[in-house]
């Protein structure tokens, strides 16, 4: 009977229902759009950070930092199998872990840096980010290729071993331009440093908020657990920019969402109040002919729950549509990965009816405790 009354009342006072439904649907769509887009933004940040290169450098603890920054690598080495320790830690802030050995040598009377790279490991199973160099092959830095006029497919001799150039790297404006990249095992061999590395490169996802603390402190704590023999340095310039960009967006959202929540609550509450006023006689007669306050509560809260429920569906569909439609234009790099988040649907179904019922609560209580005699005497 209650549901029948609610259904008929909704049909009878369509405008009130449509106005409440629109407001709630808008609110749900707003949140769904933001969360769906923000998830894409996070993915984009991670992708961009990844594209900027490794931002973490794990080096032997005893490394003299003055020399490290002067030469560009650590003069100390550590066993290559240290890198295997990262496999044990699944929930870790280090990703795309790559063991390297870097050493400056004189090649054709020029100082160059040999960089041996091991195949990348990633405990979380992400796709490899660094290039993989097969044995017998090398990548040559831009400056070296220009200086020695060497080309792709050419064979060169490095410390008595023949290598085929498979790639000339584009100009980077860094020491990468005077590097020769090869397979770690082969470079260990020609440098007579078998089983040794002097750096583990990694990427930090930059996933923790400034409120959660300094990411470098957390990274160092984690490294102490896995590799106490090493220390980590982070390219904080990249980190800061990315962090600021992402959290600025979240701060804006926090302010806007607070305003949206308050406005929608007032709007729903006002509509419920108007509805209560309109239905004063109905409430009075229902109470007079023997219906309990709880039934009146049921009628009004039931309507609020229906508004919330329908809004959750409409808002979710609208928000997801807007995110997919316009989000791809904003987040170009990860456009293809902007997809409706089904977990948000579950949240909408729970939160929207609760919010709607809460916003209508005061008018509903007023309706339920209305004195029927006062209404009838009017």
């Amino acid at each position: 009977m209650i549901f029948n009354l609610i259904e008929k009342e909704i049909k009878f006072r369509k405008l009130n229902f449509i106005l409440a439904l629109s407001a709630m649907s808008f609110a749900v769509a707003f949140f769904v759009f933001f969360f769906t887009s923000n998830e894409a933004s996070k993915r984009e940040t991670i992708r961009l950070t990844r594209d900027m290169g490794f931002n973490l450098r794990i080096i032997p603890k005893e490394t003299d930092m003055n020399k490290f920054w002067t030469t560009g690598y650590s003069e100390y080495t550590m066993p290559e199998d240290y890198v295997d320790r990262f496999w044990k830690f699944k929930d870790f802030s280090y990703a795309h872990i790559t063991a390297t050995l870097q050493k400056e040598i004189i090649w054709h009377n020029k100082e160059i840096i040999l960089t041996g790279i091991a195949p990348e490991i990633d405990p979380a199973g992400r796709t490899a980010m660094a290039f993989r160099i097969e044995p017998g092959q090398v990548y040559i830095g831009y400056e070296l290729a220009k200086e020695f006029k060497v080309h792709q497919e050419e064979t060169i001799d490095i410390l008595g071993k023949q290598f085929t150039i498979v790639k000339i790297l584009s100009e980077s404006g860094s020491t990468d331009d005077i590097r020769v990249y090869g397979a770690l095992s082969e470079f260990q061999e020609i440098l007579d440093m078998k089983g040794q590395i002097n750096e583990i490169m990694a990427l930090n996802c930059l996933c923790i908020s400034p409120e959660e603390g300094d990411p470098l402190v957390m990274l160092r704590e984690q490294l102490d657990q896995v590799l106490p023999e090493a220390k980590v340095v982070m390219n904080t310039t990249i980190a800061n920019v990315r962090e600021k960009q992402r959290y600025m967006l979240e701060e804006y959202f926090a302010v806007i969402s607070a305003c949206v929540v308050v406005l929608i609550a007032i709007w729903i509450g006002a509509l419920a109040m108007i509805n209560t006023k309109e239905r004063e006689q109905e409430i009075g007669i229902l109470r007079a002919i023997g219906h309990r306050s709880s039934k009146i509560l049921g009628i009004f809260l039931g309507k609020a729950l229906i508004i919330g429920f329908v809004s959750a569906i409409l808002g979710y569909l609208l928000g997801s549509f807007l995110a997919v439609k316009f989000g791809s234009a904003i987040f170009k790099i990860t456009a293809s990965s902007i997809k409706p988040m089904y977990s948000l649907f579950a949240w909408s179904i729970i939160v929207a009816p609760s919010f709607s019922a809460l916003s209508s609560f005061i008018p509903t209580i007023i309706a339920a405790i209305k004195d029927p005699a006062v209404i009838i005497k009017k």
Partner: protein, 218 residues
């Protein structure tokens, strides 16, 4: 059946204090048809709503079948009202979006879907509403609206019918029709308290009283 002992009702407002009922004493036996007459503002509706368990007196006691209705808890009184009393008002107070049958079935004192439906249809038939069952109040004439309101008041077979100017909005023909229905209920053993400011119900009454300035006069 109904006893009012020194019942007073005072309304306090910023504009002053109104004593709507002044130490009213009244009793009615089962099966009586009491007409309470009086001008507007004499306290008729206050008297009726107080008896109906909807308006607690400032002082005094109202007993029905020996029970002090205002010593009951709110929910208990609502339940008592739903099963014991039928209300009919001048303004009908029908639910605008519910059809005739649904309005009749809204009566709180009914239980059991099949029984409810059967009784509602029987009453609708007796009151000439069968053709209008699926119509909403806006599609009915005023006379039909009052008959629906009467059907809603009588569907649960109350012991007491409280009628507050039920003919006040009707023409003579419809008023007579409504009075006949109420008279029929009375003839079948129902007790009626009928409030009006006209003489229209005098011929149906077993007793007529007058209320003026909150006091009852024979």
């Amino acid at each position: 059946m109904i006893y009012l002992e020194n019942v007073s009702k005072i309304f306090e407002s910023p504009r002053g204090r109104v004593e709507a009922l002044k130490k009213v004493n009244f009793h009615a036996e089962k099966g009586e048809f009491v007409v309470m007459k009086g001008p507007s503002g004499s306290g008729k509706t206050t008297w009726l709503l107080s008896i109906g368990g909807m308006l607690q007196p400032t002082s005094g006691i109202i007993r029905m079948d020996g029970k002090n209705i205002y010593s009951m808890k709110e929910n208990e009184r609502t339940k008592f009202r739903a099963s014991y009393i039928g209300f009919v008002f001048q303004l009908f107070y029908l639910i605008p979006y519910a059809n005739v049958l649904e309005n009749i079935l809204l009566s709180g004192g009914l239980s059991g879907d099949a029984k409810k439906q059967e009784r509602a249809l029987e009453l609708a038939d007796n009151l000439g509403l069968m053709e209008r069952l699926m119509h909403t109040p806006s599609e009915l004439s005023t006379g039909e609206c009052q008959r629906v309101a009467l059907a809603r008041a009588l569907v649960h077979q109350p012991k007491l019918l409280l009628a507050d100017e039920p003919t006040g909005n009707l023409d003579f023909e419809n008023s007579l029709e409504v009075l006949k229905i109420i008279g029929h209920y009375h003839q079948q053993g129902g007790t009626v308290l009928f409030v009006t400011h006209t003489n229209i119900a005098d011929s149906f009454a077993s007793r007529t009283l007058h209320l003026k300035n909150g006091e009852i006069r024979e």
